[in-house]
């Protein structure tokens, strides 16, 4: 099986590190007993936009003939990535206070892991 490099590895790295950084900030806010601030929601929206661009780039390359190593798993992970930020906004905003921030931080950590997995199942780096 030919191993293709991930089509948007730079963008994926930016999103992953941003998610980790934002998660760290939210953990601090949770420790300080602060709710999820509105600016964090805007940052999340930016992350979601980045994820959409990432998805489009992958799908475009795919349509040109470079298929991911694990197509089904790849699509599942991509959908999970795209669904996570909006779901997280609803879940975290429903709880004012530190635990809302904690839940948001958790979701961002999951997002970071998911992005790593998305790139792995595209290149076939790690088998199931």
């Amino acid at each position: 099986m030919t191993v293709s490099t991930f089509p948007a590895s730079q963008l994926a790295a930016i999103i992953m590190y941003s998610a980790l950084a934002l998660a760290l900030v939210l953990v601090v806010l949770a420790i300080l007993k602060k709710s999820v601030p509105t600016w964090a929601m805007w940052l999340l929206a930016v992350l979601e936009a980045g994820l959409i661009v990432l998805g489009i780039q992958c799908l475009r390359l795919w349509s040109e003939g470079t298929a991911p190593a694990e197509p089904v798993v790849f699509v599942c992970y991509l959908i999970a990535c795209l669904a996570l930020p909006p779901g997280m906004i609803v879940w975290a905003r429903g709880e004012p206070g530190r635990w809302g921030s904690g839940a948001a931080a958790l979701a961002l950590l999951v997002l970071a892991v998911l992005i790593v997995r998305v790139t792995q199942v595209w290149t076939g780096g790690i088998a199931q």
Partner: protein
């Protein structure tokens, strides 16, 4: 969130946001993984993949019970979390002792190593959280 037949269940408030969130993540992750494994390569490792499916069902049940948050649901959730804890300890130990039976990873292999050991920590957190939550009457408002 605006569903409030009898208010937001106490179990969903406060730390419950994080605990239920974690269980939901594992329910989704374990279920998709198990479905994929069972559908595409069950014969590779029947024991491991069946266990993946069992773990997935346990995570789903716990997530739903914690979400419901009634006294009886939480009691039942406690039982399932104990099963989960037993599962991760037994499967974790077996995966070291009898590697041949686990040629492919499950959520619980090596005490959840592939998932940052969260599968081992999660039931312990869940039990602490339940002990704290079940002390309070389910209908009362949060006091802190």
């Amino acid at each position: 969130m605006s569903e409030s037949t009898n208010g937001d269940a106490v179990s969903r408030r406060g730390p419950g946001r994080v605990v239920i969130g974690l269980y939901a993540v594992f329910a989704i992750a374990a279920t998709s993984r198990a479905l994929f494994q069972l559908a595409t390569k069950f014969s590779d490792a029947p024991i491991a993949y069946s266990l993946s499916a069992v773990a997935a069902v346990i995570y789903i049940v716990i997530t739903v019970l914690l979400w419901r948050g009634t006294a009886s649901a939480l009691k039942l959730a406690r039982t399932f979390i104990m099963v989960e804890l037993a599962g991760v300890i037994i499967v974790g130990t077996l995966s070291f002792l009898d590697a041949a039976a686990f040629p492919r990873a499950t959520v619980w292999s090596h005490f959840g190593e592939g998932y940052g050991f969260i599968p081992l920590i999660l039931p312990i957190v869940g039990l602490f959280y339940l002990r704290r939550t079940m002390d309070r009457p389910a209908t009362e408002k949060d006091a802190d």
